[in-house]
């Protein structure tokens, strides 16, 4: 959009964003073994997109993560979390029971050793990533006119 953006910021953000994304993935996937988890990991993943949004503008960010996709990630993450909880209800009779632990116990100090906790972390990561991106995107988009009133329709089309 406006051309007076610094070349350094554009280049560095291009290089940094994939690493931030990867780090976010690590924090989500290893949340049950090391510090981290679904929420901080999701925020870090969203931060990689927000870096692009701040450095290179809205259009570049939307190319990486379209608004519609982010909105759906938000709902899908929540549904995934609820589904895992309900599967516990179905398989072992208790809501939110860790039903995978008895079938797939896994090994200590290995990645898959905590049953449904990993899946829950991934679900929270997806949800938080989508939600944070949508919030920041809205903050960058919204203009409130003097009359009062927000044009949501124009956002839907983008």
């Amino acid at each position: 959009m406006n051309d007076n953006r610094s070349l350094i910021i554009i280049k560095v953000s291009k290089w940094m964003a994939p690493f931030i994304f990867l780090y976010g993935l690590y924090v989500v996937l290893y949340g049950h073994l090391s510090p981290g988890g679904g929420f901080p990991g999701g925020v870090i993943i969203a931060a990689s997109f927000i870096l692009i949004l701040l450095a290179r503008g809205r259009r570049a960010a939307l190319k990486k993560l379209p608004y519609g996709v982010a909105k759906e990630l938000d709902a899908i993450g929540a549904l995934m979390f609820l589904t895992v909880a309900m599967l516990g209800f179905i398989f072992s009779g208790l809501f939110f029971a860790n039903f995978l632990q008895q079938y797939l116990p896994g090994e200590t100090r290995r990645w898959f050793n905590a049953g449904t906790i990993v899946i829950n972390n991934i679900a929270i990561g997806i949800k938080v990533c989508g939600a944070i991106f949508v919030i920041l995107f809205f903050l960058s988009v919204l203009r409130i006119s003097g009359e009062g009133g927000i044009d949501f329709r124009s956002i839907e089309r983008k």
Binding site: D74, L79, L82, F96, G148
Partner: protein, 523 residues
């Protein structure tokens, strides 16, 4: 066991909310049907749970560590109330929300709000209840500003900012309690706080926490010093949303959470009783006198809500005073049962009044008393519904609103608190004047009203008439009296503690026996 289905009361609306959010706008038809099916299931479920009680450990984690859902007499009356209001509002919104765009979003938020309300009722620990309160309240912030016009956004902004401050106070109170006792489980806390030697009043961190939590919940209930958000919200938000706020949110997130915190966690003490009473007296008097100067019908209902909830809190306050001063126990049960009954009645008749007002607005586009008086034709069915709601609100004898007010005022007199009875009667008469004044010119003929709105109003009128049946002695014992006894004795929480102690004893026995056998040879 039927009790094992308890989490579904929260999971169903929450899942439906996210599914609806996922559906694109062209599936609005199915999204609406899904929402209505879920609210019907919730109503059915709350009916199913209306005779059971117990608690449910989520994920099988035992009590002080894990999260649990508790269901006792008080919860299940309010669960039924939320079920009825949610079902009515969802059906009503089917036609009403055609005024607005984006009905998918409305139903998604409605579902989340119902999930928050049910969660607030069922949750058995302070922090989870705070989270559910936030789910319900944040959904309501967005629903209030749903029309996106300047006045609605202004009301929603005011509501959101003040609400967030109040929530922060509540959270601060919970944090202080957690730092003192290391637990947020209500049952566990109630035992530990009861064992506190100094009492709450002379234990300053506890006093701080208690006051902050009560302040936060009193804000949500719009009791008088904290009521500023309510008239604006009522005036501008869509009628379906106002119905849900007045019927569900204010009663559950405000009164229920406050009463549960005071009665169960902090224990019934004289000074907390006086605090409730001061909130109640100011609410009744301010709310009912403020009604007289309002032109807009919505603002009248807003101040009415403040004064009616004041009535309910008056019942709880006098009940806690009687208990803490060793008064007659049956009077305390009677007045608390009356307060719960009034909370239920208020939700039904106020939602009915607001939905009726919404039909006029939907059909005519205005609700000013001046414009309405020009209309000469009259819609018979809506007039009957309007009469039932107003008579119940004003306290005309055969209707439920009369009985609940009479029980509260009568037990005030029985317990010897004549001054509160006088305050109650003054508020009662002053706020009822409005109905007599408006009755004559209220209900105009409405055209262009969809079948769903007619059905919702008819259903709620039936419930409003049927709630009179609650004063039949056997039904009274089953619902309001049981509720009052459960909230006064903390029955379900005592059971939890008892079962937990049994578990601890069972766990220690096997480990302690080999220890002794190892120790004895050394000696």
């Amino acid at each position: 066991m039927i009790k094992n289905l308890l989490p579904l009361m929260i999971v169903l609306p929450m899942g439906a909310g996210f599914i609806i959010a996922l559906l694109p706008e062209k599936f609005a038809y199915w999204a609406n049907r899904l929402a209505i099916a879920v609210t019907a299931l919730l109503l059915f479920g709350s009916g199913l749970f209306s005779t059971t009680g117990g608690y449910y450990e989520i994920g099988g984690w035992p009590m002080p560590v894990g999260i649990n859902l508790s269901l006792d007499g008080f919860n299940r009356v309010l669960l039924l109330m939320v079920g009825i209001i949610g079902f009515t509002v969802a059906i009503y919104a089917l036609n009403y929300m055609q005024l607005y765009t984006g009905s998918n979003r409305f139903f998604a938020l409605l579902m989340l709000m119902l999930a928050g309300l049910n969660g607030t009722l069922l949750s058995g620990d302070l922090f989870n209840r705070f989270v559910y309160v936030e789910i319900a309240v944040i959904s309501s912030y967005i629903l209030v500003g749903f029309g996106c016009q300047a006045p609605e956004l202004k009301a929603a902004f005011k509501y959101a900012v003040l609400g967030t401050v109040a929530s922060t106070f509540t959270l601060l109170g919970i944090a202080v309690i957690y730092s003192l006792y290391g637990t947020v489980n209500i049952a566990h806390l109630s035992v530990q706080l009861a064992a506190e030697p100094t009492g709450i009043l002379f234990n300053s961190p506890l006093l701080f926490a208690g006051l902050f939590m009560v302040l936060g919940f009193a804000y949500k209930a719009a009791l008088v010093p904290f009521h500023v958000w309510q008239p604006d919200v009522f005036e501008t938000a869509p009628a379906a949303v106002v119905g849900l706020i007045s019927g569900g949110l204010v009663g559950v997130v405000g009164i229920y959470a406050m009463i549960r915190t005071i009665f169960t966690v902090f224990g019934i003490t004289t000074w907390l009783g006086w605090m409730l009473l001061s909130l109640a007296v100011f609410s009744i008097l301010y709310g009912s006198f403020k009604v007289l100067e309002q032109e807009s019908l919505r603002r009248v209902y807003a101040y009415q809500t403040i004064s009616q909830l004041g009535f309910s809190v008056l019942g709880f306050g006098v009940g806690s005073l009687i208990i803490s001063q060793d008064g007659p126990y049956w009077v305390a049960v009677l007045i608390v049962a009356g307060a719960i009954f009034h909370l239920f009645n208020h939700a039904i008749f106020k939602t009915l009044l607001i939905l009726l007002e919404g039909t006029v607005e939907h059909s005519e586009g205005y609700t000013d008393a001046v414009n309405l008086s020009d209309k000469t034709n009259c819609d018979r069915n809506f007039s009957i519904a309007s009469f039932v709601a107003m008579a119940s609100a004003a306290g005309i004898p055969p209707f439920a609103g009369f009985f609940s007010k009479m029980i509260i005022l009568g037990s005030c007199v029985l317990a010897g608190y004549y001054l509160f009875a006088v305050v109650g009667v003054v508020g009662f008469i002053v706020s009822s004047v409005v109905y007599y004044r408006r009755r004559r010119r209220f209900f105009p003929g409405v055209e262009k009203i969809g079948g769903s709105m007619r059905f919702a109003v008819g259903f709620l009128t039936t419930v409003c008439l049927a709630s009179t049946l609650l004063v039949i002695p056997s039904v009274w014992q089953l619902f309001p009296e049981q509720a009052a006894e459960d909230i006064l004795t903390d029955q379900i929480y005592l059971e939890q503690i008892e079962e937990w102690r049994q578990k601890l004893l069972n766990m220690q026995l096997p480990s302690s026996v080999p220890d002794n056998s190892e120790v004895t040879p050394d000696d």
